[in-house]
């Protein structure tokens, strides 16, 4: 119970910080919109398979940039203060939940922006929303944990990219297959298996993130 209230409190704190420094969230949202626009200018009309690929590539890069600041946003003294007050589990879980929300907003914005400039090729909208949510969860767990590692180094944004991209590829691959389903590019009746696989991978990574995080902040 103590931990749940800590988690809720830390999420509130993150939201408040985000609200006070609005430029960060606006920056990342603008990042998505301008990337979509650059893609639109340089491609023109694109077929659905390419739409699918571009969609997830934009999400991937925007997410890395959105999450990398999780642990570098606040200075180390203040982090030390949090670590004194809160359980490490509460810190990592609150960051993950917060980033799920952030990445989901990113996904939705990306979808809206791409629907405005291109026509939406999505055939099964309810499945597509589910995929967006699952994608936010998978990306959030991986990126949040790796950003905790990368924040300890000086060149954290480069390190973040090279550490996460290979790890996130299985998740990305499954998401692309699922979203090809939602776009009607392939008809796979057994796509629920893919969803279970994705959830299993998320589960493994979340479990490890929770177990390993206490070792990360003990400086």
């Amino acid at each position: 119970m103590q931990i749940i209230s800590e988690i809720v409190f830390l999420i509130k704190k993150d939201l408040l910080l985000e609200w006070r420094q609005k430029y960060a969230i606006w920056g990342i949202l603008l990042y998505v919109v301008s990337t979509v626009f650059i893609v639109f200018i340089s491609t023109g009309d694109i077929p659905a398979p390419v739409w699918n690929i571009l969609f997830w590539i934009i999400i991937l890069f925007a997410s890395v940039n959105a999450v990398v600041k999780s642990f570098v946003q606040e200075n180390s003294q203040r982090q030390l203060y949090y670590y004194q007050l809160a359980h490490p589990l509460a810190i990592i879980v609150s960051k993950i939940i917060y980033n799920i929300g952030l990445l989901f907003i990113l996904c939705v914005l990306n979808y809206l922006a791409m629907t405005i400039v291109y026509e939406s090729p999505v055939k099964r909208l309810e499945l597509f929303w589910l995929i967006l949510f699952l994608g936010s969860v998978g990306f959030s767990i991986t990126f949040t944990f790796v950003s905790a590692i990368a924040s300890k180094a000086d060149n954290s944004s480069t390190l973040m990219a090279i550490l996460t991209f290979p790890i996130v590829i299985p998740i990305l691959g499954i998401l692309m297959t699922l979203s090809a389903n939602a776009l009607g590019l392939i008809t796979d009746t057994a796509y629920t298996n893919d969803i279970y696989t994705l959830l299993a991978i998320d589960g493994i990574l979340l479990g490890l993130a929770v177990i390993l995080f206490p070792f990360l902040w003990k400086d």
């Binding site: 390190l159 290979p166 590829i169 299985p170 991978i201 493994i204 070792f215 990360l216």
Partner: protein, 349 residues
Amino acid sequence: MKNNWWKILGVLLIIYALLFGVLTPLKPGLPSVYPFNGKSGERLDLTIEGYNTHFKEAKNQRVWLKLADRTMLGKALVANSNNSLKVSFDIPALLPTTDTVASLTLITNNEIDGTSILPSAVFIKQNQIDTLTAINTWANSPLESLHSYEGTAFPYRNVLGETIRNLYYHVSLWFAMFIMLTIAVVYSIKYLRNGNMNDDHRANALIAISVVYGLLGCATGSIWAKHTWGTWWTADVKLNMSAIFMLIYLAYFVLRGSFQDEIKRARLSSVYNIFAFASLIPLLFVIPRLVDSLHPGNGGNPGFGGEDLDNTMRMAFYPMIIGMTLLGLWISDLRYRLAVLRDKFLDRA
């Protein structure tokens, strides 16, 4: 000597597996026949190409064509050489099958080579289908008093040919790599539990050697792919996953390089090693099984095992895995000792 027996064992196993793997011949096989199609009710003259066969030397050579459970004995056998044999079949007008085009299996047998089989060797087209009459008119000559091959040899497979020996090098490298990576994770966990710097050195040394093994595994696989698939690298899922896997461990070294503080470096790279290893499991074992692949062992493609990996091959394959692992552990042990000595003498100077 007492503590080094495993190094000697590893080297001996590798030497044994190399010699046994290269020197053992392949069983006789049938790469191809010509022509590979014909019509029912006509005489079919086939030229059979053999590999490691003894058509000329053999006294008791027989050839069959097989369709479903019916077999037909070939006549007028002429051996041009040990690897080339002419044979004639009188194909009946009706075939015991409901297909318009039937694929027949070719079987040869003699007292030196034993039995060799070429599946789907000849395609015969029939003009009308009457299975019942066909079964009655087909002169069945059952496969009887077959000779078997004497001696030690590896199985002959049509696409693979001699490259079947690559199994000992390509596959055992990946096996050894996995064993070493698993040990590295154990050391990383040990480091996080007790903070002993030596455990981190061990994990680092093991991962370095594993990456080298992985590169060698890619290289041997690439050579094999060139022979069997006709290309050095394809967009096949298992190949891509192994490339991604290399990226993960190369990132591990970049991560290590970006910390000056030794304890911080050890702790963070241990954490990353455990996290990366866990994410490898879906990468190499789950995803390749979900999608189609050329590579054996997934996507409905028969892997090695079953009839391809026979006991003769196991005699070289398993020792090679153990030998490669022991050699890798030895090299990593040397690297580990070097790292410990460096800590002791260089950094404190």
